[in-house]
Amino acid sequence: MLSLWNARKGTDRGGAWFLAALIVLAVAAPFFSQVVPATSAFHLSAFGITLIGKYLCYGMLALAIDLIWGYCGILSLGHAAFFTLGGYAMGMYLMRQIGPRGVYGDPVLPDFMVFLNWKSLPWFWYGFNHFPFALLMMVLVPALLAGVFGWFAFRSRVTGVYFSIITQALTYALMLAFFRNDMGFGGNNGFTDFKDILGFDLHSDSTRVVLLIVTIAALGASYLACRTIVDSRAGRVMRAIRDAESRTRFLGYPVESFKLWIFVFSAIIAGIAGALYVPQVGIINPGEFAPINSIEAVIWVAVGGRGTLYGAIAGAILVNYAKTYLTGAFPEIWLFFLGALFVLVTLFLPNGFVGLISARIKHKEDGPVTPINKEPAIDAVAVSGVPDEKDK
């Protein structure tokens, strides 16, 4: 693959570091969890494994957002919707896996349906007892929604802040719909109490380790896919659209079609991330559709550094680590911290933490230079893609 080659020969240095870190994690996590005894201080608990898996799923969501926002200028404030839909598809499979082991012991109907006095399985639950079918739906449902939504939005040339607002409306509408019991998705309780996946006990440490490794692989593969896209000529067209949309259209590129393809692809990555998230955290409910979740995900990307792909992932992990710590230690300040972080990053670090680091590296390698006669680091160029509105 071209992107692997680029990572190796050093044109994608950040990406190479990121992939190396993933490989180290894929080796170290099972080692510290399975080989190091539980009595040792270095033992990685099941909670730790799940936490890392959760962060990586968020990293995948951030990657999906960076692909469309950082490279194509499409700011979606509803991307958690695709994440949650992928999660629900996985949740439906896991619910059907429970079988007769539910509280009510019904061999087919999940507990909440028995509780609602339903007599038979709704048609849209058919097939979810088969893993390949569920797998297909995890990809297809987010893709279909993104396709239909994007087709209408982009064709009507809805751009900029208007697009962001209707994506918020989209995820809010989905949240309200999924809260309703009649929808057949468990209402406000959603799905939980999962037992096993593909016959493996979800509560066993080894299943959790395998799920983490699958998540690492999915994140790595998604990264390489995104990197291949942004390094292709299509990626350059995307950046052209981001910087001067009407000029790109004037050159003969079908701008709407580019946006639609990339939006759908991004939704698929978000859907897979959500599908991997659910078996690890053990619950999915309509709260995941909440508009604030999508906004938080955009903040991760901004904090890490947009338009770099790996920066978005790093941002997601960093901010969520801070969230885990702060909501534990000082629960009341978390939202203030998040708001302050966003304001500070926007004001002082327009290229996020990755931009700060790559500027430092560049500075060290080249020595101090006057910025006038020196082109900025290539990473900084890619990151500083704040879409100027001159074109609209």
Binding site: S232, A234, D243, L251, W261, V381
Partner: protein, 248 residues
Amino acid sequence: MSVRDKRLYLEDLTVSFDGFKALNKLSLFVDPGELLCIIGPNGAGKTTMMDVITGKTRPDSGTAWFGRGTDLLTMTEAEIVAAGVARKFQKPTVFEQLTVFENLELALAGDRSFLKTLRARTSTAQKKRIDEVLGIIGLTAQRESPGRILAHGQKQWLEIGMLLMQNPELLLVDEPVAGMTPHEIERTAELLLSLAGEHSVMVVEHDMSFVRSIAKRVAVLHEGHVIAEGDMDKVQKDPRVIEVYLGV
């Protein structure tokens, strides 16, 4: 020469906006390989004429032929571009975050669908063509520089280069030297002169000394039609032109 041998032939074009005639029976032609300059005061109809040629505005009456048997008035904007008419707008817009090379690469002729561009590789022949155009527009040294660090004049040349990538038969250039330094103006004159011959070029410009330096034939527009045409000396002596420009 008969009508059929002209590169562009406009006849009796009339465009009115709410009763105001932006073009009033305008007739004009461009020969193959010719460089024609259009001058005229504000509101003379220069931009409207460009809009009609590129399909942006439809005239109320008249005809517009592009070469043999190509009726511009029946074509969409995209079809006109595909037929070989390229327009350079007044304000330069290049892709700021892409390099000069990548700017030209995106302007290459070829399939522009997402899936095709995803797999597109720039061939050796295409790279050669890009380097050739880089030489023509004098930006070989800036090949790997991002568009945003170019000077104003260089951006204008890059944009002309992007039009050249599509090998147009007719180049419409709107006020190319506005805001340029004298040296840049000189370079632009050389560039446009070098393009004539292979392409037909129509330049709309206010700068009289610039027009004098490049034009063999000048057409003067006023109130939507051509009031004088010929070489610069002849046009400047025309009493109607003097009246329009100097208000005598």
